[in-house]
């Protein structure tokens, strides 16, 4: 596997974690109750910690003076390789926890395989992150069940969230070129296996939440190759403003 593909694969893992963390961090100070505000902020920090580890490794692979900060703050939307799912707006609490549930389930099975990667750095990051993701999965699935099997209003909100989110789930399992290369080299993961495990977990939690399983629908795609929704630009505008306006600013 060549260095560029490995770098792209690492950036893809990093971007997923960073953008998911940024979205969840938007709830900081706005959670429905204090305890859940802290819970989701903790989760956001876990994601950003994962992103840092991947960015540091990507910077060392590039070996051209880039740093974790330049990779996060000085790349444009077309260079970001995150899935569309993580850049979607938070919506209400139902949509936030459902999207996190979909993403955490994906990360859970992905990191399980990535622990055995032939790339020792990626394997180590996956092993460290898996403990965090195990909790994210537990926390988010319980909220999905609580709201799905809750009141009339909470159920309707979960149904709306499913409607808004489902067509963005397929992209996670649609391997792009650097993922295929990584899988062939024994560095990446078998996305078909991840998909099967994901399907099974999603089905069992949605069943417990008395929510319907969506059949195959047309899936949105493009994020992994840099083709994003309009939402990513707004995220970057906010996230990158300070470093763009005051290059090298520290505090």
């Amino acid at each position: 596997m060549n260095n560029i593909s490995l770098t792209n694969y690492t950036l893809h893992l990093a971007d997923n974690a960073l953008i998911m963390g940024h979205r969840n961090s938007e709830w900081c100070g706005h959670g429905p109750v204090l305890e859940q505000d802290i819970a989701l902020s903790n989760i956001a920090l876990d994601h950003i910690g994962q992103a840092r580890n991947f960015y540091q490794y990507a910077a060392s692979l590039q070996n051209n003076g880039s740093t974790e900060d330049s990779l996060a703050f000085l790349r444009d939307a077309i260079d970001f390789k995150n899935c569309l799912l993580v850049e979607l707006p938070n919506g209400d609490w139902a949509q936030t926890v459902l999207r996190l549930f979909f993403f955490s389930t994906y990360q859970y099975y992905l990191y399980q395989q990535l622990q055995n990667s032939k790339d020792p750095q990626l394997a180590a990051i996956a092993e460290k992150s898996l403990k965090e993701v195990t909790y994210h999965l537990r926390w988010s699935s319980e909220w999905v069940i609580r709201l799905g099997d809750g009141t009339g209003e909470s159920k309707q909100r979960m149904l709306d969230a499913l409607e808004n989110t489902w067509s963005f789930t397929g992209e996670m399992f649609e391997a792009c070129d650097y993922e295929t290369e990584a899988a062939l080299a024994g560095i990446g993961v078998d996305l078909i296996k991840v998909r099967n495990e994901w399907d099974e977990k999603i089905a069992s939690v949605l069943f417990e939440a008395t929510l319907p399983i969506h059949e195959d629908v047309w899936m949105q795609t493009g994020g992994k190759k840099g083709i994003h929704t309009e939402h990513l630009g707004f995220i970057l505008a906010e996230m990158q403003f300070l470093q763009r306006a005051y290059p090298g600013a520290e505090w």
Partner: protein, 98 residues
Amino acid sequence: MMSNENQSWPLWEVFIRSKQGLDHKHAGSLHAADAQMAMENARDVYTRRMEGVSIWVVESKHIHASNPDEAASLYDPANDKAYRHPTFYDLPDEVKHM
């Protein structure tokens, strides 16, 4: 919305054991819809900085507290009864941690 939610979710008391072998100590309280959520909230609110290895939660309404107005009659009588302290015995060296 926040105050309404808080009014409808019961209050829980949280006890954290900081490491193996030590007692659970009262850490604080929080709101949660049920025991499972209380456990997770306790984990998120009170063990963020490696404070604990074990958590107990109990609904605050199940805790019965002594009345501060009765403190004098409850506790003061023990004040002058030094013979209740086991300080009049010579401990053998083999007995540690007493």
